[in-house]
Symmetry: C2
Amino acid sequence: VTPRTFNLALVGFGNVGRAFVRLLREKEQRIRDEYGVAARITGVATRRLGWLANPEGLDTAALPDGRTPACVKCAEVREWLRAARAGVLLEASSLNKRDGQPAIEYLRAALEHGAHAVSANKGPLVFAYDELRALAREKRRRFLFESTVMDGTPVFNLFRETLPVAGLRGFRGLLNSTSNVVLAEIEAGRTLAEAVRRAQEIGVAETDPTDDLEGWDAAVKVVALARVLMDAPLRLDQVERVGIASISPEQARAARAAGKPYKLICRAERRGGTVHASVRPEQVPLTDPLASLIGTTSCLHFDLDVFGLTLIEHKPGVEATAYGLLSDFLRAVREPEAL
Amino acid sequence: VTPRTFNLALVGFGNVGRAFVRLLREKEQRIRDEYGVAARITGVATRRLGWLANPEGLDTAALPDGRTPACVKCAEVREWLRAARAGVLLEASSLNKRDGQPAIEYLRAALEHGAHAVSANKGPLVFAYDELRALAREKRRRFLFESTVMDGTPVFNLFRETLPVAGLRGFRGLLNSTSNVVLAEIEAGRTLAEAVRRAQEIGVAETDPTDDLEGWDAAVKVVALARVLMDAPLRLDQVERVGIASISPEQARAARAAGKPYKLICRAERRGGTVHASVRPEQVPLTDPLASLIGTTSCLHFDLDVFGLTLIEHKPGVEATAYGLLSDFLRAVREPEAL
């Protein structure tokens, strides 16, 4: 059987983009066998290289070396999507927490072009979820974003595909690795500055860790989850937000010693007609599985009306985010199941 | 829009069957709105009442009181499926760990009749998975069994729907409530006999707890998971199986005091071409989320090639199992998604 071949256009070709291409190659045979699907990268866009397209497939192996593969260079996203004859956009640009741009514009352009739009970026969920969802419906294409929260772990697809008509009352989780690593380093005796440096050394914290330490990154995730899973029109400024810097090293160590360590806990809860949400350091007893989670491990607990369900993603690397993109791609293009 | 109406036939009308009917009623509106589906119970079979059918819908409210609703009484399963004009069989008979009967025969009859076959029973997965799967394909119907492991928590549907082309290297979990409750009671100072009585009082252990205490129930779950998720032709007698009675109360208490309590751990692991599986008490450090799980809470950790994923189901009641049946019903009858 000839597979249906899809042209993929990638915005961003850093660690995630490269891991995605590796994973795609690694899983090529299973994707063909199980989904009847083949994929080729026909567009890559990065800040450094610009908008590169080749509808016959780009030699992505050349890109990390700075060599330019055979391609056309486009001026902007729409021209690029056309030149790449893109069937699916995979967008992994970095988060702009003020307005979600330029990711929103890329996703909009992809859907208007007639491509499925897959994003690893939380911004569009916070600032343009309704619009992009409506546009995707109108164009009969998919807007998917599994890797925005907990990387490759199914969260959005979990509800959409495997928890039909379940009622979600609220959730609670540990969603920011930097805060988790920094708190653990402080408990181990380091100062805040030393702990941040350590988190940067192991590749968890960014050069400017402010968004993580002040709880912005976690708050954005809370809004994305509440927006999509609880259908709550929650704004970022409505999330009560306290970062881990509000805890002194002495408090952190005393709490750990007392068996109730601090964790940066994300919460959302339906009360009456509205959803209340917060991100703040909370003390967690050791009997709570959350208390023992370390490093990049993340966790979400869902309070469903039928039972309670916790997901823990262990030590995800960049390939976990890449897997989130891959699973969205397959979700977007898979045929309705033959019974 | 007129909903598509499905006739449901239930084998078993104990706690699970009744909870299913309650849940169906509670979720009726959402099922109609979100899936365009309506359901009515047209068949109920219990050991006491026999095979009752009414193609216009049975008054299930009468059944728990022993009143007989307007219906025909059939002699056996095939006649009953015809009389009920069953579109979906929901089978929640009790486990026979030797041969999986009569559940297998009921599921076979349903598929041959042209109905979807949904089972809450692990036996058919251990003894007839290949056959029932092939029969379902041939008849273009579904054979689904989400509630057999971890009740309502998506495990099988999780892999089928949300973890495409992920490689499963192995899993590890806590899947038997009775063993977990009994161990906790022993740690708290009770004898094995007292602990079992306590587990029976709170409705966790059955009158004859042998299958749980000897690890049979957990081993059956391991085989079901390995069979379906790892495509491994594992037989029940190939699972290394040691029950919690092998641990003396003194050992259990000493291990807890030392911060490495015993848990009845289920394992399967792919090594070379084969899957090795075991069920046995293992000591778990307190830093492992498994160590803190109590009561009926169950847990599965999946070692995927892209990341590690743990699911914890908190204190499920009978409605969690009923939800597993409901989610399978909706999975079976939902239309291919309109893009």
